[in-house]
């Protein structure tokens, strides 16, 4: 077995990986920026190395430094988590060059999948439907016009190496085409290091569905179910669930095709294929070659610890499961708890966590890295925890989620807990009418506003009761004083009488 694993990440995913390592008796090494020195992953790991004080480029994205630490700490492998360097072919290559195992696909696969056009081509080869669009890069306005006329407006221009909701331009009409193309090329060049873009038909308000798969180093690939991730705010998922609403037959046939794709690629370790679902058609979007934030919902309905599987695959073990072994049971939700104020355009929050109540109960899981008195820095992602709940069916899971969200309380900074509470109470959510524009469509802000007022009413009611009580207490004191005075008068009188 691997003896030491370096975790090149922070936050809840670093904790998640530490726990999986501990299950397999693997020593853990973590890295941290100076501002993260009181972060929980530093406290929990067996060894922690400081990356100094600096920007993300100088710390969690510093390939050279991280590889040096891996060598120094005798780490056999590096787990990149999600975000940061998890999809960097350059990082994976540097890691492997130094004889260290990269827990993820090979650098060449990372490179291939980072190119969205390449990924689409590969999906087409195994018979997966893709969004209609250009088959190659688009350089000139003339090329863009041709393809736009062919597929029809609205269209979307995307950066070939883009991701995370950035480097995308929706074009509604021919007049806006030229300027959008130039804008997208500029952004692509600036953020993704390549000005290459391509064009697709824009699909408005789809559902976001994805399929998790795992592959070992011996060509065995299985898919372990689907997830529904449509509830998003500014292209960031906030609630995910498993299974999604596609039929079991569809899940299996799509899963098989994804496994074919992975086999063709000689893919290894965990991955996720993302799809857009609209009008009963599923279009391939991309493959995320890493562990995902929402992996726990799949764990809850399959019973498979995906991070443990990642470590075992990295240890050159064969998959312990065949496709036939995979059984789905129940329904699971994940609520991303973000330090952001939904009433103020999701503005990120930072500061001291003054108190924390973590929900509990059967099949309620809270993955987090915050603790009371922890000072949350403002440099990083706003994700501070993930509430994961499993129920016998969707209704049961909603009821459990409702209770768990009510128990969860974080003081010190604004969070999106009330947003989750508002979402799960809408009939649209309960009736599975969820698409990526859910928040706008359901006027969630109005509901949040109402909820805020309910809370204020409760406060005011208590406040007025206390005031009444205070006044009552004062009047009692005055009464007592009067009694005392009367008694004093009385005794005086008695004294006088005694003298007489």
């Amino acid at each position: 077995m691997l003896s030491t694993v370096l975790i090149a990440n922070r936050g809840e995913i670093a904790i998640r990986i530490i726990r999986a390592c501990r299950l397999l008796n693997i020593k853990t090494v973590v890295i941290f920026s100076e501002i993260d020195s009181s972060s929980l992953h530093v406290r929990m790991a067996d060894e922690a190395f400081c990356l100094g004080n600096g920007s993300v480029q100088e710390t969690y994205l510093n390939v050279e430094k991280i590889v040096q630490i891996a060598i120094k700490s005798n780490s056999d492998a590096i787990h990149p988590g999600y975000g940061f360097l998890s999809e960097s072919a350059i990082f994976a290559e540097e890691v492997e060059k130094n004889g260290i195992i990269f827990i993820g696909p090979s650098p060449s696969i990372l490179h291939k999948l980072g190119n969205k056009i390449e990924a689409k081509k590969m999906a087409k080869e195994v018979g997966i439907q893709t969004v209609p669009g250009s088959s190659g890069y688009i350089n000139t306005t003339a090329e863009a016009e041709n393809i736009a006329n062919e597929i029809g407006y609205p269209i979307i221009i995307k950066a070939v190496f883009g991701g995370g909701g950035r480097g995308m331009e929706i074009v509604e009409n021919p007049e806006a085409l030229e300027i959008s193309l130039m804008g997208c090329q500029t952004i692509a060049d600036k953020f993704f290091g390549s000005k290459e873009v391509f064009i697709e038909k824009y699909i408005p308000s789809p559902r976001h569905v994805e399929i998790q798969f795992i592959a070992d180093n011996f060509g065995n690939v299985i898919h372990i179910g689907d997830r529904e991730c449509s509830i998003q705010r500014s292209y960031q998922k906030i609630i995910e669930e498993a299974p999604s609403f596609i039929s079991a037959r569809r899940r299996n046939s799509l899963g098989e095709k994804i496994c074919d794709l992975a086999k063709n690629l000689e893919y290894r370790n965990a991955g996720t294929a993302e799809f857009l679902w609209k009008n009963n058609k599923l279009f391939f979007n991309e493959i995320n070659p890493r562990i995902q934030v929402e992996h726990p919902v799949t764990e809850m309905v399959t019973g498979i610890d995906i991070v443990v599987q990642q470590l075992k695959i990295a240890n050159n073990e064969r998959l312990a499961y065949t496709q036939k072994d995979i059984r789905y049971s129940g329904h699971a939700f994940e609520f991303r708890i973000n330090a952001e104020d939904p009433l103020k355009a999701f503005y990120p929050q930072s500061g001291k966590i003054t108190s924390l109540n973590v929900p509990g109960g059967n099949e309620v899981r809270f993955d987090t890295f915050i603790y009371p008195n922890y000072e949350l820095p403002n440099q990083y992602d706003s994700l501070i925890g993930k509430l994961i709940v499993r129920g016998e069916n969707r209704e049961d899971a909603i009821q459990k989620s409702r209770l768990a969200l009510n128990e969860l309380a974080i003081s010190g900074l604004a969070t999106n807990i009330s947003l989750h509470k508002a979402i799960i109470e809408t009939p649209e959510f309960q009736n599975r009418r969820i698409t990526t524009d859910f928040l706008e469509r359901n006027k969630i802000n109005q509901i949040l506003d109402h909820y805020e007022k309910l809370k204020l009413v409760a406060l005011l009611k208590t406040h007025s009761l206390l005031k009444e009580k205070q006044e009552y207490d004062i009047s009692k004191i005055q009464e007592r004083k009067e009694d005392y005075n009367r008694w004093r008068e009385q005794s005086k009188l008695e004294q006088q009488q005694g003298y007489l």
Binding site: T354, A409, K455, A458, L459, L460, K461, L465
Partner: protein, 158 residues
């Protein structure tokens, strides 16, 4: 008496009505303290139960520390507009919902900011006020009617 309450960086106009209901920015709520043990209270607001704990100066709602300040509400008295419109004012439903109460009758005189009716939508009870002084010329709906958004409710003649 109207009060101005600041709660989480937002200001609300709060009024406790004679029947005990609490109005916040024109929305009505019924609250009831179900239980108080030491300094912990269970408060029911229109079917939602909140647990409120008081420690020192802090109010802790469902485990979350919150603060609020109460100030008297001083209405801003605008200068009288030189041209008082003599035209009829049509009041229509701002949101779809159900008319649960009508406080006025046709022909009745009303003054500015007088409560006219209550429109219930998605469990929210919204109070509709008169925008100016006048006389109710027409009431186009009756209690328990369901109304669409922008549907005419009543007409006021200055």
């Amino acid at each position: 008496m109207k009060k101005k309450v600041k709660f989480r960086d937002r200001e609300y106009i709060v009024e406790v009505l004679p029947n005990g209901e609490i109005s916040i920015d024109g929305e009505l709520f019924t609250a009831d303290i179900k239980q108080g043990i030491n300094s912990m209270y269970k408060v029911d607001v229109d079917g939602y139960t909140f647990t409120i704990e008081i420690s020192n100066e802090d109010f802790i709602v469902d485990g979350e520390k919150t603060q609020f300040t109460i100030k008297p509400y001083i209405p801003v008295v605008g200068r009288k507009s030189s041209k008082t419109s003599k035209r009829e004012v049509k009041i229509s439903a701002p949101i779809p919902g159900k008319i649960t109460k009508i406080f006025v009758k046709e022909g009745q005189k009303v003054s500015k900011d007088e409560e006219l009716l209550i429109l219930e939508a998605m469990k929210m009870r919204n109070r509709i006020f008169s925008p100016n002084n006048g006389k109710i010329r027409k009431i186009a709906i009756k209690e328990n009617d369901s109304v669409e958004q922008d549907q005419l409710l009543l007409v006021i003649k200055p």
